[in-house]
């Protein structure tokens, strides 16, 4: 929206101040100008309004309505105020879903970012086949999510999954691990799969950021005796900060709303141990067809996303100002 706001400002005020000077342009030309400005802005406004504005406004309104299956036929969705919010927040599943969402997001981001950064640094050094390997890294990104979660489900099967068979064969674990069927392991398993899925995104962006750091900095630092860890600490990390903030903010926003991997692996189970706000919202809307409750949950999720983004951007700006 900010881009549109700016251009709106430009179209209404910009030309007027130009014309403060004694120009001899006819008056109707002025109107034409501002009208033509609007024509340029219209497609973007229309697009944003239709595909971003409308769904969000509709979702917010739906959160205050008793929007059920009959609404579709009758078109009637009684206004219920905050009843949906009270209902979903007071449900015993809400605390579980909130905790799981937090653990899932933090776990995934920490894992993805740490491994992604290590791999990006590793690939920064050119070596035979590094190009091929880097291309292979993108694989998780290229597979349809439904397919990869189905394959992971097989691999993590307690009895016949390859993960357990390997671990038992190598005597890493005495008996097979109930990856997806024990409430104690399921969330960890889902996080591991999500880390695997998120690594390509992190590697790609961080690798791009590393490419942007001038080689001279390292050469100059090497002359002063700063190599390896010191070079990373004083050159790589500070130069990478803007990229890191992008990766983290996008990562958190993407991870908060992850749905398909969890649905594919566990469906939120066993015993709600992998139920997050996103899966709960999906369940309310598309399994129970209680769209009001589902909208309330997803609005809560949107607010969490927004709060996080704003806080993070604030912190980041302050850090840059210093």
């Amino acid at each position: 929206m900010t881009a549109t706001d700016l251009s709106l400002h430009a179209s209404s005020e910009g030309p007027a101040s130009d014309r403060g000077a004694p120009s001899q342009r006819p008056r109707h030309r002025v109107r034409l100008d501002s009208v033509s400005h609007w024509f340029f802005v219209a497609p973007a406004v229309l697009y944003l309004g239709l595909f971003f504005g409308y769904p969000i406004v509709k979702n917010v309104i739906m959160g205050f309505q008793d929007y059920s299956t009959s609404t579709f036929f009758t078109g009637v969705a009684p206004w219920v105020g905050f009843a949906n919010y009270v209902q979903v927040v007071s449900s015993s599943i809400f605390a579980t879903a909130l905790t799981n969402t937090a653990l899932f997001t933090v776990g995934s981001i920490v894992g993805q970012f740490a491994l992604g950064l290590l791999l990006a640094l590793f690939f920064k050094r050119r070596f035979p086949l590094s190009g091929v390997l880097r291309a292979l890294m993108l694989l998780p990104w290229l597979l349809p999510l439904i397919a990869s979660s189905a394959v992971w489900k097989w691999m993590l099967d307690q009895g016949s999954g390859i993960v357990n068979q390997t671990l038992v064969f190598l005597h890493v674990v005495p008996t097979s691990v109930p990856w997806l069927v024990s409430p104690d392991y399921a969330l960890v398993s889902v996080i591991i799969v999500n880390i695997w899925l998120g690594i390509p995104f992190n590697v790609t962006i961080l690798y791009g950021g590393l490419q942007g750091i001038p080689e001279e900095l390292y050469e100059a630092a090497a002359l002063d005796g700063a190599t390896k860890w010191k070079a990373f600490r004083h050159i790589t990390w500070p130069s990478l900060r803007p990229v890191v903030s992008v990766v983290l903010v996008l990562g958190v926003v993407y991870t908060l709303k992850v749905l398909d991997i969890i649905l594919g692996l566990t469906g939120g189970g066993p015993a709600n141990s992998t139920e997050t706000l996103a899966t709960d919202s999906y369940h309310q809307s598309f399994v129970l067809f209680s769209f009001g409750d589902g909208a309330a949950l997803s609005n809560i999720l949107i607010v969490i996303s927004l709060v996080f983004t704003v806080v993070y951007l604030r912190l980041n700006r302050r850090a840059l100002d210093e």
């Binding site: 059920s68 299956t69 009959s70 609404t71 579709f72 036929f73 009758t74 078109g75 449900s91 015993s92 599943i93 990104w141 099967d157 307690q158 009895g159 109930p178 997806l180 069927v181 024990s182 409430p183 995104f201 993407y254 709303k257 566990t266 469906g267 939120g268 189970g269 066993p270 015993a271 709600n272 141990s273 369940h283 598309f286 399994v287 129970l288 067809f289 209680s290």
Partner: protein, 404 residues
């Protein structure tokens, strides 16, 4: 990644609506005298040849020109809701029987009695599933349920006969368990399938979905939890759908399983597998085994076009005629809903005869709660999962699930 996905979904959705528009224009160009009817079901193409034949013959009987719309299972209700809001409901709509009351409650269906149809002589449970606030909204041609399937060779090797009570099932499952085989398997997954398989244990014991915290329900959950805890049943049941359970049974990894007649073709195809089935055991010998009833209803949506609604009513009458029900049941390994047809069918099909009593004692999942069933069904599988995974004691599991 995700935004792209959304675009794809939107694109698909617009394609679907384009397709619909194309269908409806094609439908109106029927020759004079015949009525154009759209029939919507969730049979995945290539459609069942027998069902197609039934549809074709019923089109002739009702003098209708049919447009068939197959919507894959999971998407049917979403599609129906979309059609309800855009006033493009089909003329004949097939619905999974637990969904009928919810859709009827929305006002999207017309009572089937408007067209001279009734539930007389039809399996009681299927009528209960199709009745909302005293009015009958659909008829189901065929019905299915679940039973205890067992591996005959494994049972005779262990020198036991199929169990009829919980105590026998527990003892037998223990005896049948070896390092490679579990004695007993069922689906305890966190979907409606898990709930569906839990109902026999709950209902036969006198439990009810109206009072989840009852001692009977606690007893039923304790029984299944105990089977998992003593190692006679795999801990993985919490992630098994019914097809997974069937695969375990076919692979010889389970000696007994809870499953339905729709698995019979896969069991028959398994070489060297000797199987049979009995009603699901009850806690005491004096209790009656009660299983949930499945199957699909044919309904007439409220489209506002009286001529088409009347023709659709005739079409439903034809699909649920004794002759067509019998043909349908034979093709799909289920039983006709019509009691007389079912009795005759059971005589002619010994492999399905055992389901005759099971279906006669069968209950509709939505009979007590109607449109509120989905919420209760979610609580039931949640409680089951809490219990089976040991996250909560059976009593605490019900209390916790009920508060969600």
């Amino acid at each position: 990644m995700k935004p792209k996905r959304m675009v794809a979904v939107l694109a698909a959705a617009s394609l679907v609506s384009l397709g619909l528009a194309a269908c409806s224009t094609a439908g109106t160009s029927a020759p004079a005298g015949t009525t154009a009817l759209t029939v919507e079901d969730y049979f995945v193409p290539p459609a069942d040849p027998v069902i197609d034949k039934i549809y074709a013959s019923c089109a002739v009987t009702t003098n209708a020109k049919l447009t068939l719309e197959h919507v894959p299972g999971a998407g049917l209700i979403a599609k129906v809701l979309q059609q309800a809001s855009s006033k493009t409901l089909p003329d004949v709509l097939m619905l999974d029987n637990p969904d009928v009351q919810q859709i009827a409650a929305s006002g999207a269906l017309t009572p089937i009695t408007n067209y001279g149809l009734s539930g007389a002589g039809v399996a009681e449970g299927t009528v209960a599933a199709s009745t909302y606030q005293g009015k009958l909204y659909g008829l189901q041609p065929i019905a299915n349920s679940i039973a205890l399937f067992y591996n005959k060779d494994m049972l005779s090797a262990a020198g036991i006969t199929p169990p009829t009570t919980w105590a026998e099932l527990t003892a037998d499952a223990k005896k049948l368990t070896t390092p490679t085989t579990y004695g007993f398997a069922f689906s305890g997954i966190n979907t409606y399938e898990g709930t569906w398989q839990f109902m026999p244990f709950m209902w036969s014991n006198g439990g009810s979905e109206k009072d989840l915290n009852s001692p009977q329900n606690v007893q039923a959950l304790a029984f299944l939890t105990n089977l998992v805890n003593d190692g006679s049943t795999s801990k993985s049941v919490v992630s098994w759908a019914q097809s997974d359970v069937d695969n375990q049974f076919i692979a010889g990894k389970a000696a007994m399983m809870v499953n339905g007649p729709w698995q019979i073709p896969s069991l028959q195809a398994a070489k060297g597998l000797n199987w049979a089935y009995v009603p699901i055991p009850t806690r005491t010998a004096s209790q009656t085994s009660q299983s949930p009833l499945g199957g699909e209803d044919y309904t007439v949506p409220n489209t506002g076009d009286k001529t088409k609604e009347a023709a659709a009513g005739k079409f439903v009458a034809c699909v649920t005629s004794a002759k067509n029900e019998t043909a349908n049941a034979a093709a799909n390994e289920e039983l006709p809903s019509n009691n007389a047809a079912a009795a005759a069918f059971a005589k002619a099909n010994p492999s399905l005869a055992g389901f005759l009593t099971i279906i006669q004692h069968g209950r509709a999942r939505t009979a007590l709660l109607g449109a509120d069933w989905p919420a209760a069904a979610t609580k039931i599988y949640t409680a089951e999962q809490l219990g089976l995974t040991g996250k909560a004691t059976p009593a605490a599991a019900w209390a916790q699930a009920d508060s969600q």
